[in-house]
Amino acid sequence: MLSMIWSNWWRHKERFILLLLGVFIISGGLSFLYGLSESNKGTVMDTLQNKWKVSYDIAVRPPGTSFGDEAAGLMEPNFQDGITGGISMEQLRQIKQIPGVSIAAPLAVIGYTEFSTPLNRSITFKDFGVYRLKQQVTVSNGVQNQTSTPSTYYDSYGPSDDSESLLSTNDPALLVGIDPVEEAKLVGLDQAVVPSLISHYFTSTDTSRVQVFDQKMAGISKFVDAPILISNQNSVNKSYTFQYEKLDIPYGTPEQEAELIAKVKAGGGVNYLDKIQSVSSNTVTVNVTPAQAAVAQEEVMMKSQADPALLLFSQRAKALSYETAQSPYPDRWPIAYRLKSYDTSDAAARDKFPEFYRPMDKIVDRNYPYAYYGVGLKVTYIGNYDPAKLQVSKDIDSLFPMDTYRAPSAKAIFDSEGRPANPQATIKPINNPLGLLTSPPTMLTTMEAAALIAGDRPISVIRIKVAGVDEVSDANQAKLEEIAEAIRAQTGLAADIMLGSSPQPVLIQVPKSGSQTAIGWMEQQWIKLGIALTLVNEVKLGFSGMLLLVILIAVLYVLATNMVSFLVRKREFAIMLSIGWRVSRIRRCS
């Protein structure tokens, strides 16, 4: 029979060539379509998964805390920076023991300290005298320049003094406690340490201890020794203006110095100097670039390793508050919020920070009335880390904002009058603990130190990575649901599944606050939980449908060619039947 089939082909060469051509075209076409479909599917899936990739699968937070708009399943970016503790070390231990949990990385958001940074600039006084220095900080959030009320201090230049006055500044820095081992596994923090002779990652020798003071130590109840890893990224665009004035006071001899000291004492200290007129005035402006900030940190680090620096806490990290608002363009932005603005009676805070979108919450020890600073830190800066080197999604397309180390951003869309912003400027953090967008953690310490500072429940959020979960799928979603449920049942904590989340642009009305005018409406990418899973499933379904269509076309081709072949060879088949061929053999032959 095979020889007959071959004869049939060979003796109808033109038909055979056409058949071969058809086979090549259809097989080539199908392969191409299949390849194209698979390649497109891969591209779309990669885009979907990479664009919204987070480095962890489940976020665990204390019960009762909010991550944004829970009713709408919308999570505010960097929500964890607004939660100050609430999870105990025992709960962390319980979570680590749940089967399937491969990484459980705690994050203890402790609060803001005043971080002293040398500016690597100095003022050189030409004449002997007493000088009044006024420091003013101007910060740009991308839309507005925010200028603080000048802070004043005094310096003198005499025969025994240096003519140079080194300039430095105190900036708030968010301190966060981490588990060095888990953080290394989750985001490769150990690999992000900037190599230098004086910079290293946390080791077992970087321990902490607490030193409790009695009531004679004004302002502080205890000091905690804390090893600190410090970020080399400065996400804030800041400039400092120093104005110095020579006071109308004779100064230059030992007698004049003694006379001045007596007058200051008698005149009420600094109040006396405040009343004295100036005779000359000069201004120095310092813009701090990230490179300068990094150099400055090296200096700070070296000094602290010789003699630990003393830091005081100023403010707990607090979350923003929103209320639902009517979107001006619901078709484009179906979800809109109005940001809440706060007021404060703290004069020092009002001078320092021009806006208050978060409530004041000073860190105080309520058992110790004199400790208005609560806890002090004796810090040793053990190293610098570069957030850009972390193993988190750095894809340029990656819109997923929720990474602990990523500075949040937003886009100005409309001004307060509802006029479209042109161009649409990006709103950036301003390093104001009470401000609209806050910087990611500048200083990292160990969980041991965090527990000594913050007490029994130091952990704000636990980021969980589950073994074997590397893509968005129904099976992985079910696995995560099971583990999240186990966490809720065993610890009573809230657990949110991050895998399969996607960005959702929301419109936020930013009202006037403090001395700042209203920004208007800004657009920010929030996180819609679970939506990517639906999208990924639909994409998979779509491409499966396409593949099915390709197969259907192939089947139709085969049916059509068979039909044509049957019609052409109908007479032949009739002859075969007549000479005793079975129908099944004729079918095989055709």
């Binding site: 007959m4 004869s7 032949e572 002859i575 039947l577 000479i579 005793g580 079975r582």
Partner: protein
């Protein structure tokens, strides 16, 4: 081996749109293997339809075709194919050779796909072709043969499996009178040599008169039978 073919109440109807056409009406007839039977009739009289029913190429609308005691209506498609292969050889007016196969391949074509020894039937095909005067034409394609040669190849194909019956439908229709005469003589010789029954459908009266038995058919009815063999005579 069946010595006779019996047609009992054979009727063949063709259904058209709102019209039913009767090609054969209540045919009762018996064919004997030792006879050379010729079926004659004008075009459209139903003689080819009758032959296709006898050759089990078609099923009657009613009635039965018996080969000896074997009722062909009780056979399924595969059994019918095997039956045709083993018992019947068919020759057609237009020869109906497979155009892609050579003469010897056409003769061997009934064996294709059947588990028989290829060497045996190749030898037999050659013998038959030699016997029919086609010794030098083994490897000629049908398009390279004359009408008479093609018809002889068709006969060789019909006889290659030693059938009990040879059914020929207007086999001389495409041959000139001399070739038709030769063809008829060849059939007579083969019948004597092989002992198979022959039923020949023709509209050539001259040729038919040389047969042992002549059946005339008109408008689907048998209007004449030179032998008048009855069913009763066989019982």
């Amino acid at each position: 081996m069946a010595d006779h073919i019996q047609l009992i109440g054979i009727k063949k109807l063709y259904a058209g749109e709102h019209v039913e056409t009767a090609a054969l009406h209540e045919i009762h007839r018996t064919f004997r293997r030792d006879e050379f039977t010729a079926i004659i009739g004008s075009s459209g009289s139903g003689k080819s339809t009758l032959l296709s029913l006898v050759g089990t190429l078609d099923q009657p609308s009613s009635g039965r075709v018996l080969y000896g005691d074997l009722d062909t209506s009780k056979l399924n498609a595969n059994q019918l194919a095997d039956f045709r292969f083993e018992r019947i050889g068919l020759v057609f007016q237009h020869f109906h050779l497979l155009p892609a196969l050579t003469a010897i391949e056409n003769v061997m074509s009934p064996f294709f796909g059947r588990r028989r020894r290829a060497l045996d039937h190749r030898a037999k095909a050659k013998r038959l072709l030699d016997r029919l005067g086609l010794a030098g034409k083994y490897h000629s394609l049908p398009s390279q043969l004359s009408g008479g040669e093609q018809q002889r190849v068709a006969i060789a194909r019909a006889l290659v499996n030693d059938p009990d019956w040879l059914l020929a439908d207007e086999p001389t229709g495409n041959l000139d009178s001399r070739n038709a005469e030769l063809f008829y003589e060849l059939l007579q010789e083969l019948k004597r040599e092989l002992g198979c029954g022959i039923i020949l459908v023709t509209h050539d009266l001259q040729l038919a008169r040389k047969a042992d038995r002549i059946i005339e058919i008109k408008d689907g009815l048998i209007v004449g039978d030179s032998s008048q063999v009855t069913d009763e005579s066989l019982c």
